[in-house]
């Protein structure tokens, strides 16, 4: 809605710097907004404030040490990040992962998807303006999940639990009961969020028809994950190129219709319900067995002249690892294809023409993690 002004009324566009330190930028992200009144005319993002050189440092380290850097690349969904890397090393070394390890990996990755989406719901609620309540709900659920991860791997955030070939050590004896316990409280948490936000009139007024991107533009810009599925494109790597045992599990992929901010929120909420059902199916199929292959070489030397590009479905999109090895026990080139970098390219297209307050919500709905954007 633009108010017509008198012909001789001169205005000037204002440059606002939403600087690297700002309570709503989800990390060190800087954008320069050119606004006319309250409407955004142009948006220039600046990234690179957290560029730590994980790709260069992994070239100096053994293949088994790279897991620690991959954890820290995506710190909210560490299991998914480790999974891509470990699958790449296994593909080049031609290691066969035992069945029990694969089921446990699937359960842990889906649990990590739940904890990452809880963090999104909390932070997104704060962006929209519900200051406090969604954030505290989210952390209550996250603490339950993090306690479970701490019992299994020993750390609250940087697990380093996956190894090339399987897992680091056996899960504790009460793994199944603990997972079922955690799922009970997770279901309650999802229902709380649903009651709080989904049919809330103010939330709907703020998020419907805001930040729309069409399916063709999204594919052209290389977006992936729930942000792409909210625009109506049914692309999920777990269904189109299944890895581990996802082809034996029955689940649906929620697709949005409009491509606006509300659809991105709803797609993630529905994905969490699907994750809970995947975990329950995996728990039924979990059997006994070893967690590492019998004949593991002591020093992992990979053949020369091999390269692989492994892609998995992380909570934020397609997390790919491109690994080139030229012999020896260190990678020659490790490239992390980050979903958040490709999704962030679309920010400008989604925000131009919207209000300033909506630009903040749109940034929150893409759900970026800066250390994945900058690596």
């Amino acid at each position: 809605m633009v108010i017509e002004s008198a012909p001789d009324f001169e205005t000037q566009d204002l440059l606002i710097n939403v600087g690297p330190q700002h309570p709503s930028t989800h990390g060190v992200f800087r954008m320069i907004l050119e606004v006319d009144g309250e409407i955004v005319k142009d948006l220039i993002p600046h990234i690179g404030y957290l560029h730590r050189g994980a790709e260069k440092l992994c070239e100096n380290n053994d293949f088994r040490q790279g897991v620690g850097y991959m954890d820290r690349t995506e710190y909210l969904a560490s299991h998914n990040a480790e999974l891509s890397y470990v699958m790449a090393v296994e593909a080049l070394a031609e290691l066969e992962v035992p069945e029990r390890a694969q089921w446990i990996r699937m359960i842990l990755c889906e649990l990590n998807r739940l904890s990452s989406h809880f963090m999104f719901l909390g932070a997104f609620g704060v962006d929209v303006g519900v200051f406090g309540t969604p954030f505290i709900y989210a952390w209550r659920e996250r603490e339950a999940l993090i306690d479970l991860f701490e019992e299994i791997s020993g750390d609250r955030m940087m697990y380093a639990y996956f190894r090339a070939g399987g897992l680091a050590w056996e899960v504790p004896g009460n793994f199944e009961e603990r997972v079922r316990e955690v799922l009970v409280s997770t279901r309650q948490g999802m229902k709380d969020f649903d009651n709080l936000l989904t049919r809330n009139e103010i939330f709907l007024a703020r998020t419907k028809n805001v930040g729309i991107i069409s399916a063709e533009d999204a594919i052209e810009l290389g977006m992936s994950g729930p942000t792409l599925r909210a625009s109506g494109v049914p692309l999920d790597i777990r269904k189109s190129e299944p890895y581990m045992y996802y082809d034996q599990i029955d689940f649906e992929v929620p697709i949005g219709t409009n491509g606006d901010v509300f659809d991105r929120y709803l797609v993630r909420l529905k994905e969490m319900e699907q994750s809970v059902s995947i975990i329950e199916q995996c728990l039924e199929r979990l059997n006994d067995g070893p967690i590492m292959p019998e004949r593991m070489p002591r020093m992992l030397r990979l053949p020369e002249g091999q390269e692989v590009y492994i892609r998995t479905e992380a909570p934020r999109g397609e997390y790919g690892i491109y690994l080139v090895s030229k012999g020896g026990n260190k990678p020659w080139r490790l490239k992390v294809r980050s979903a958040c970098l490709s999704n962030l390219q679309a920010l400008r297209k989604m925000s131009v023409g919207q209000y300033v307050a909506d630009a903040i919500i749109i940034l929150g709905s893409i759900d970026i993690v800066l250390s994945e954007v900058d690596r």
Binding site: L95, G222, G320, K335, S342, Q345
Partner: protein, 192 residues
């Protein structure tokens, strides 16, 4: 590929080389060969996908054909990066995916060490915009006609070195206050 885990790789390499040329029929190579018949393409079998080498002069035309052709429709650029091979030059690598047909392809272009320029792929896919900016500042590659050739991740005053080249060294770990740490034996008597 062979499924033995601990086989000695030097023996297996010759055997797999002979197998490579014969066994490309079960990949998408016949389809790509037909589509890119006007371009000089060299195939190679990768771990999962097919890898093709295309010379630098034909690359943008080939990418445009791959995107527009009805049989392949590679409308999704997954990843764009580069690999430094020291004396053999720098390889620019494109990973392509076709959503309607669900097929993958890897395209590699070799650039000589002293002339690291190549055409830009933003004319074909808009997703290449930021990916090329990052590759340019990490390896020193120049993408001709790029709409926005600024640096992406580097600070503005450190743009003359390229971190991901093999010739760029790692930083030394600083030992802070090295001599002052520990007990200073010579000045022990001063305080008493």
């Amino acid at each position: 590929m062979t499924s033995d885990e601990n086989v000695d790789t030097t023996n297996g390499e010759e055997a797999s080389e002979i197998a490579v040329v014969d066994s490309l029929e079960d990949t998408i190579w016949p389809l790509i060969n037909r589509v890119l018949s006007s371009v000089d393409v060299t195939p190679e079998r990768g771990s999962i996908d097919l890898i093709t080498q295309i010379p630098r002069s034909d690359i943008i035309r080939a990418l445009q054909i791959l995107k527009d052709n009805e049989e392949v429709q590679f409308n999704y650029l997954r990843c764009l990066t580069a690999v430094d091979n020291e004396s053999e030059g720098v390889d620019v690598v494109y990973h392509l995916y076709s959503i309607p047909k669900n097929i993958n392809l890897t395209v590699k272009v070799n650039l000589p060490v002293d002339d690291k320029t190549i055409g830009t792929a933003t004319e074909v896919w808009e997703a290449a915009n930021w990916l090329e900016r990052e590759t340019a500042e990490m390896f020193g590659i120049t993408f001709n006609n790029h709409p926005d050739p600024r640096t992406l991740l580097m600070p503005e005053d450190m743009t003359d070195t390229f971190p991901l080249l093999k010739s760029h060294p790692f930083a030394e770990i600083e030992i802070l206050q090295g001599e002052l740490l520990g007990y200073d034996r010579e000045n022990q008597g001063d305080d008493e």
